[in-house]
């Protein structure tokens, strides 16, 4: 079984400041890694995913994440946030030989002017 820990439940940040959301996972097998975003009153939307290859993954809306196998981490970053980035962000993993996603508890990002 695998588990996902998102280390920060709430992250307040000022507009145009950088943000980093931390995600650590544990699994006995190799995994694929994902970040999803949930805007208010909307469904989950995929930001980016790591499958293999380069450990730095670029996603939509200027987000990127870096896979670190030795630290079993997949932290999400954006160099300059906008008010519209206010949302809840979920890290998720999926085993190589499975289809279901296991999610962390989420990080709420609130961007203030």
């Amino acid at each position: 079984a695998q588990s996902v820990t998102q280390l920060d439940s709430q992250v307040p940040v000022f507009e145009e400041a950088p943000v980093e959301l931390r995600c650590n996972y544990s699994s006995s097998v190799s995994v694929y890694l994902f970040w999803y975003v949930q805007y208010p009153n909307q469904g989950l939307q995929l930001l980016l995913k790591y499958l293999s290859g380069s450990t730095l993954v670029k996603g939509i809306n200027g987000f990127e994440a870096e896979f670190n196998k030795s630290q079993t981490s997949f932290h999400l970053r954006k160099p300059s946030v906008h008010i519209s980035d206010t949302a809840e962000y979920f890290c998720a993993v999926r085993n190589y030989n499975d289809y279901k996603l296991s999610f962390g508890a989420g990080t709420t990002v609130t961007v203030r002017a």
Binding site: L46, F90, Y99, K100, L101, F103, A105
Partner: protein, 116 residues
């Protein structure tokens, strides 16, 4: 194109009642998933369909929960004898699983179930 849709968007019921939640996946998507999201938590897997069959129902919490996908498209999640602890947002996702790849799961907006 149209995304995953779920109906109703909100459902209020009384303890002990039966409810059905519906999911319309993206057209052509062979895989369909149900997840449950409790307040302050991330989504938790319930069941996965590949076509008409339930390929993995290991996440269903007990035998009060059941899901069907009779024609390989629309799915219904059925909850019998609802309990207050069943209150949550029920999410549906679909993907185009062609085997050998890692397809994106596209999520619907969810059905918010409140059991009084």
């Amino acid at each position: 194109g149209a995304g995953v849709s779920q109906t109703p968007s909100n459902k209020v019921t009384e303890k002990g009642k039966y409810v059905e939640l519906r999911c319309d996946p993206i057209s052509g998507h062979t895989a369909l998933y149900w997840y449950r999201q409790s307040l302050g938590q991330g989504p938790e897997f319930l069941i996965y369909f590949q076509g008409t069959g339930a390929a993995d129902d290991s996440g269903l919490p007990n035998d009060r929960f059941f899901a069907v996908r009779p024609e390989g498209s629309v799915s219904t999640l059925k909850i019998q004898r609802t309990e207050r602890g069943d209150s949550a947002v029920y999410l549906c996702a679909s993907s185009l699983e062609r085997g050998g790849g890692v397809e994106t799961q596209y999520f619907g907006p969810g059905t918010r179930l409140l059991v009084l």
